[in-house]
């Protein structure tokens, strides 16, 4: 079991939805050796498998809560449900929030489960990140490094 997991979530081909994965990639060479960096498409049942492999997890995803694009949300899901709508991918209504709730119900949620979500501007297929989201990337990376 990896003690610490940083998981970038999203669809790399859907505009700002790629932000979580890109931040995770940018952390690869910067985190202590015991931290596992991984990327995930956000499909809930497979995500439960990832979560149960760690004691401490930081999830990074795009958000669509209506806040200003680039806004950074930090949600501590260790003892609470995830209330901010995330990302674009939700198969049959099963997304990151459901994965966290399912992992909790199955008693496999990491002791510490933090979600960083960057408010997205655009989920259009085959486009890059919006300027606002790109500008928020490094700040998220640094905040996670500080927590590690």
């Amino acid at each position: 079991m990896a003690e610490r997991l940083v998981l970038g979530i999203g669809n790399p081909d859907r505009g700002d939805d790629a932000v979580g994965r890109l931040i995770a990639r940018s952390l690869r060479m910067r985190v202590p050796a015991d931290v596992r960096i991984s990327e995930h498409d956000g499909e809930a049942t497979a995500l439960v498998g990832e979560l149960q492999s760690a004691r401490h997890a930081w999830l990074i995803d795009a958000a669509r809560s209506g806040a200003r694009p680039g806004t950074i949300h930090r949600i501590d899901c260790s003892n609470a449900e995830l209330a901010v709508p995330l990302g674009t991918l939700s198969s049959h209504g099963f997304g990151v929030a459901e994965a966290i709730a399912l992992a909790r119900a199955l008693e496999v949620l990491p002791l510490q489960c933090i979600v960083y979500a960057v408010e997205a501007a655009d989920f259009t297929s085959c486009t890059g990140l919006s300027r606002e989201v790109m500008q928020a990337m490094e700040a998220v990376a640094e905040r996670i490094l500080a927590e590690l």
């Binding site: 498409d41 049942t45 497979a46 991918l89 198969s91 459901e98 119900a105």
Partner: protein, 428 residues
Amino acid sequence: MARKTINVDYLARVEGEGGVRITFEDRTVRNVELRIFEPPRFFEAFLRGRDYTEAPDVTARICGICPVAYQMSAVHAMEDALGVTVSAPVRELRRLLYCGEWIESHVLHIYMLHAPDFLGYQGAIELAKDHGDVVRQGLELKKVGNEILELLGGRAIHPVNVRVGGFYRTPSRRELRPLAERLRHARDMAQATVRFVSGFDFPDCERDYEFVALGAAGEYPFNAGHVVSNKGLDITPQEYDAHFEESHVKRSNALHSHLRGRPYLTGPIARYSLNSNLLSPLAREAAKEAGLGPTCDNPFRSIVVRAVEVLYACDEALRIIDAYQEPEHPHLDLSPRAGVGYACTEAPRGMLYHRYRLDADGSILDAKIVPPTSQNQPSIEDDLKNFAADWLDMPEEALRVRCEQAVRNHDPCISCATHFLKLEVVRG
């Protein structure tokens, strides 16, 4: 009793956005409207002008849960247009990929979406709180389907290793060996799943459906065969457009499909009823023990048929891996030509039709995609018209849940269909 409406604004545990409105009058069902308001996604228009080689990757993005069926229908149709046939080992690998998708999609539906209906839970999360072992088994079984897709498709969602004419890369026998170990474990879990779901209480609801599925191929159908029905239809995919027509109804952003003006049903119980004799001996035996006959006319028992199909998929995957010989060439080298190509394949939730017209340079002039949920919309409405009057004495909430369950019997994929649900019941 005058008039009563049951309205489900947003159907839960289905893929995409849709609803149902049922109007009762004098203890009869006056009207059922399955409404699909998810916006149309215009994939067919998006394909126009693109090279034929792009179709598998573009169509795989139509659905996150059945991308294999989409890309396989696309590659088969393109190969039909180009007049080529892939080698036997490539065809077997394609069947293996289907096994992965059926396991993944069916197990998601059985455990996460449909079982809560039978066990009286709002959803999988509530089910997991009381029956963690059940949900854990579902997650573990589904994972094996993902592993097949990851190995053969390059990744579990929107696989990228499939191309017209074959695969970009084919696995060695050695690479497939660990998968066989996992599949033997999955097959045991699949047998346990059939036993688990066959113990549910099923409402006594049977209908005289016209079942449509691939058949007459000498194998339980994934991606070959004629389009056949239990009422005498037997055509090639090339003849599909002469027999099936799509029409727009105002309440749905997905086109309704009819077979010479008649509603019909595609999906697991259609596939099973037309092909149950072609299941593996293990799956046939499990079906029999689960109380299924050679055909299944009760849509509520579709969960049992799905479980039998999962068992079949595990068994078939093991057969394929055991007999596998790596192809000499992972793909055919193809040259474009003008032509029209047709294909029907079996997505987990039903038959999927693709047709493409290609220009001499291989660019796509037009595309037609008919997803299973489009085809099943009239039958889903007819199920409620036929069954719901008998449920009228149920308390309001139980009636609403039962109506939703009747829709979920068919595992509708609204996102696919719009390239679909919300429930509204009007009692009168």
